[in-house]
């Protein structure tokens, strides 16, 4: 099993995606009209399957009760958009509160996760360091076997984390898979650069901070996003450890009030005026849209690094 961790770093480099030349190679025959059309249709449909639902959700969140009623559900064609749903959910109450919780969990959790992961990845990335193999084994075993839900639940409860927001952060703070990916990137940092810095008197902390981290920005960006997205969507830990609805994150609020069909209570404005004119569906789609925003904003920035990170991860375990 040990070779999992010791495969030569060069493999990740040689399989990195190559930039494709523009146009068709001279020896390639041009595709048939039928083939071209078929491919275009399939790919358009595939993209539409993602775009249309997201579009409908966002448009519905901006729609008034009357246009939602007219459409009989999700609004596909925008008609008289308004901000009233957002004004309602931001006026204090369940959703505003959940937004704070989600932001807290995401910001603190991601920062801590990255800190711990980068440190561990670097600590295990220097060749032939003391105790590296047994320590790596300790990490990897947790990918193959775990105590299961109940013992974990009992441990978290015994630590008095039940009902605390830290229960949404601490148990999932370390992701071994992410650490291994970061580690394999760190191993690829040019040895000459490290050697030069070492000669200039840099210790390991300095090396990590001034040489390794600056040259590994792409993978760190991807990993930050992975962690952030996981914390942003945190649901199960909240379900397990959070009995108090005031400490629920967005995903838990969506589950409780959208999927299980309960009405959204305590919208801030004491009901009468606001809720009468707002559609439950519109409000729910507001919350869903809010959950989508960071993902849609972040993805384009780190997208070009995904394949490198994923491939290294897939090949090197």
């Amino acid at each position: 099993m040990s070779s999992l961790t010791q495969s030569p770093p060069s493999r990740a480099v040689t399989t990195a995606p190559r930039k494709r030349a523009k146009g068709r190679e001279v020896w390639e025959e041009s595709p048939t009209w039928f083939g071209q059309f078929g491919k275009g249709t399939v790919l358009t449909v595939v993209c539409a399957l993602v775009i249309v639902p997201v579009w409908a959700v966002v448009i519905t969140s901006f729609s008034t009760k009357s246009s939602i009623n007219a459409a009989g559900g999700l609004v596909l064609v925008p008609h008289g958009l308004s901000l009233q749903n957002y004004q309602l959910i931001f006026s204090g109450g369940t959703v505003s509160q959940a937004l704070y919780v989600s932001l807290f969990v995401t910001l603190i959790g991601t920062a801590l996760s990255m800190l711990v992961s980068v440190l561990a990845a670097y600590g295990l990335s220097r060749p032939r360091s003391f105790g590296q193999r047994p320590l790596l084994m300790m990490l990897i075993v947790t990918m193959f076997f775990n105590g299961g839900l109940i013992p974990t639940f009992l441990v978290v409860s015994d630590l008095k984390l039940y009902g605390s927001m830290w229960a949404m952060i601490l148990p999932s703070m370390v992701n071994v898979f992410n650490i291994l990916i970061i580690r394999s990137f760190f191993q690829n940092t040019a040895a000459e650069m490290i050697e030069a810095a070492r000669l200039d008197g840099a210790n390991e902390w300095r090396l990590l901070w001034s040489v390794v981290i600056p040259t590994s920005r792409p993978v760190l960006a991807v990993m930050t996003m992975f962690y952030a997205v996981t914390y942003w969507g945190t649901f199960f830990n909240a379900l397990l450890y959070e009995p108090d609805s005031r400490k629920w994150p967005l995903a838990m609020v969506i589950y409780e009030y959208t999927y299980s069909g309960n009405q959204m209570p305590g919208m801030g404005t004491t009901g009468i005026g606001g809720l009468q004119n707002a559609s439950q569906l519109g409000l729910q789609m507001c919350v869903v849209s809010l959950s989508l925003v960071p993902i849609i904003v972040l993805t384009p920035f780190v997208q070009k690094h995904f394949s490198k990170g994923m491939l290294t991860g897939a090949i090197k375990g």
């Binding site: 003391f130 105790g131 076997f145 105590g147 009992l154 978290v156 995903a251 969506i254």
Partner: protein, 310 residues
Amino acid sequence: MSWRIRLRRDKSLLLMTIPALALLLVFNYLPMAGIIVAFEHYDIYQGLVHSDFVGLDEFRQLVANPDFWHAFENTLVISFVQLVLYFPLPIALALMVNTVLSSKVRGFIQAVVYLPHFFSYVLVITIFQEFLGGAGVLNVFLNKHGISSWNVMTDPHTFKYLVTAQAVWKEAGWGLIVFLAALAAIDQSLYEAAAVDGAGRWRRMRHITMPGLRGIVVLMLVLRLGNALSVGFEQMLIQRQAVGAGAADVLDTYSYIYGIGGGFGSATTMGADYSYGAAAGLFKAVLSLILILGANRLAHAFGEDGLYRK
């Protein structure tokens, strides 16, 4: 070099790994020790150490319970459906996207299909609900045209296809990445040489592309088999009330529902029988480990690396 010198030399490296190791010890290794709860009649007031040790008692109850075997069967069936209907899709999609010449169009397609991977299952299921549920777009359309409505979200008979569809919608685009990268790594001169030798498009696909993808396909298959018993825990849990336990209970949810119960859907909630739930969890964990190791051996038999090398 003596170990003392190496220890002194590397002490800052060791220091760096301590936070991660400490967290793993607490949240991964401590629960492993806590597995002992499966062999006890756990009593909250007695705690782990002082509860009665009963050996395999809980396991005997477990295998005697038809509900457990039903959950086991559901797990295998859903896993199989996902293997057949989900696994080939990212490969097919990658082959297709790879032939798109314009890098702008390729980038756009990728950006779009990756997106759902980052949505949590709560979001995915909510979106499905609004499209296929009783008051969703599909049924509004059906009603308008006088066709009897069909609430896909609460139909236990088609539930396994529904969860597969959700998994495909969420993950197929993401699964694409690995195969696209593998395709890009195939030596282009092979294609050129084959074309010169008179091989048409399909023969090049069959003799160059397919062998080029073989390694990564086997690896992905091994990963899939190793995880065969962990199918969509959150998905099942969220939709359990809507379709009923009969269709939605898998090994993971079984362990959760019987072990902890959860404070929702009280009609189907069992009590908090920690020991029974832990026994179900351990049963699954051990089987999973055997599956992973077995799948890896299979990969080696195919001459591939699998998760780790021989």
